[in-house]
Symmetry: C2
DNA sequence: CGCGGGATTGAGCCGAATCAATGCAGGTGG
DNA sequence: CCACCTGCATTGATTCGGCTCAATCCCGCG
């Protein structure tokens, strides 16, 4: 087992992940401490409040980050798609649960080794900063949604986000022609936890969007959007 | 006008701001491009979507970061206290409004110059990364509040946060003795926008907390908390 | 075919929003 | 000095969106 030197060059996310900041020589060093791991949908990856030695690039699948109150109420505070980075550097513990929303592949690093590597490679740290800033922007965007949007707007905004980030289904050009088809990476329950709603409300809103002709349900997990701009109108994306 | 070489050494936040990463020699260089600015409560500092050349350390006062929908709904997505950093590096525009919640003093830098400086001083970039990570943690914490907490819990959580971050009023030891007194840096309207509530609901919840004996209103902006732990109980801070 | 877990649908309720009035403090000008 | 105004905060009455509880439905699977 252990490291395959050639692996990074074939990695699907080589350039887009934080590793993109490194040249072939440097990446060899990082690869020395990398370890590939896979998780099944539902597997727990990190535990809130617990010490964790793991950092990772998400290579495939979607990871949900959740926080919860002691009475069981739960909120998904972030979704991690490829080629995003997972884990909290410079703290021994994780601040939230991380759970595989779908089957997941990670390229993991021990925290200490990765942090040393960061220290020796300012380029990599720069890249990580850029990534963290984007996540912060996204989180603030989400705060607007959680605090001020109606259930319908929340669901529409979520579908829009997935339409933009998740891989398309079927053959499709980026050219505007034809409906956008994609699979939802989350169950209704997860969508509810992400949007600050209940399962029932999510379901009702989806039905409503369907009957309005804004979306088309192929199956519970696969949908088709005839016009993204109509969906955008319903979602009320923010001003300016 | 222009730079006073000696100023940084007397700066109230010298060690705690991102500048803490720099030695006296380096800080002289940064000070060359720094400019002091003051704002009155209510002044706009950054405009959502607009190009902005400004970055800054908050030296005094509180800045609110808001996002809004085109129909006027508004959400405060972050509060910036001293010695926090304000502004978005590596993007030409700001993603949100920044507005002085109280009178504010900033130590500002032109974006381009600061970014060059960052590039030449990995220590500073490291510090900025640490700071950004903390902000992200805080934002996710807030997502849990916005998505899952009741109005009473939201208000209690907010008061608790202020109690911890805002300067105390009157003489007070950190030792547990006596009530905690402090001033609210936000109006009821701002609190509502921060908590995803209406003004009326915020007001009612404050009245309720008062009648429960959890807090004591000295004036609308000044309050006293006999027992922080009682407030914590009401706020339902999250599980381990 | 029956079972089980996720999703949908329905009925009723409740918490927070809305609409509307009143209170209160600070500032201004007669 | 007081009357008045203006902006913020409080309080009350009513409405409504989303939650709760509960019953089906649907689909994959043993």
């Amino acid at each position: 087992m252990a490291s395959e030197p050639a692996r990074c060059s074939m990695c699907a996310i080589r350039d887009k992940a934080v590793c993109g900041a490194l040249d072939p020589n440097e990446i060899k060093g990082l690869n020395q401490i990398a370890r590939w791991r896979t998780y099944k949908a539902g597997d727990v990856i990190l535990v809130d409040g617990a010490k964790s030695d793991m950092l990772a690039n998400v290579v495939q699948g979607v990871v949900k980050l959740t926080k919860s109150l002691d009475d069981g109420r739960q909120q998904i505070v972030g979704l991690v798609f490829p080629p995003d980075f997972l884990g909290r550097v410079y703290r021994p513990d994780s601040q939230y649960f991380a759970e595989a929303a779908t089957d997941v592949e990670l390229c993991t690093f021990p925290k200490e080794g990765f942090e040393r590597f960061l220290h020796d490679h300012p380029n990599l740290e720069h890249r990580l900063l850029e990534h963290t800033l984007s996540e912060l922007d996204a989180c603030r965007e989400w705060a607007l949604l959680l605090g001020r949007k109606s259930a319908e707007e929340k669901v529409a905004s979520f579908l829009l986000m997935i339409a933009k980030r998740a891989p398309r289904l079927g053959c499709q050009h980026s050219g505007e022609a034809g409906p956008t088809k994609f699979a939802l990476p989350l169950s209704r329950a997860d969508m509810a936890d992400f949007l600050g709603l209940t399962i029932e409300t999510v379901s009702r809103q989806i039905t409503k969007l369907k009957s309005k002709g804004v979306i088309d349900l192929v199956s519970t997990r696969d949908l088709s959007v005839p016009s993204l701009s109509k969906l955008e109108t319903v979602a009320h994306q923010e001003a300016a």
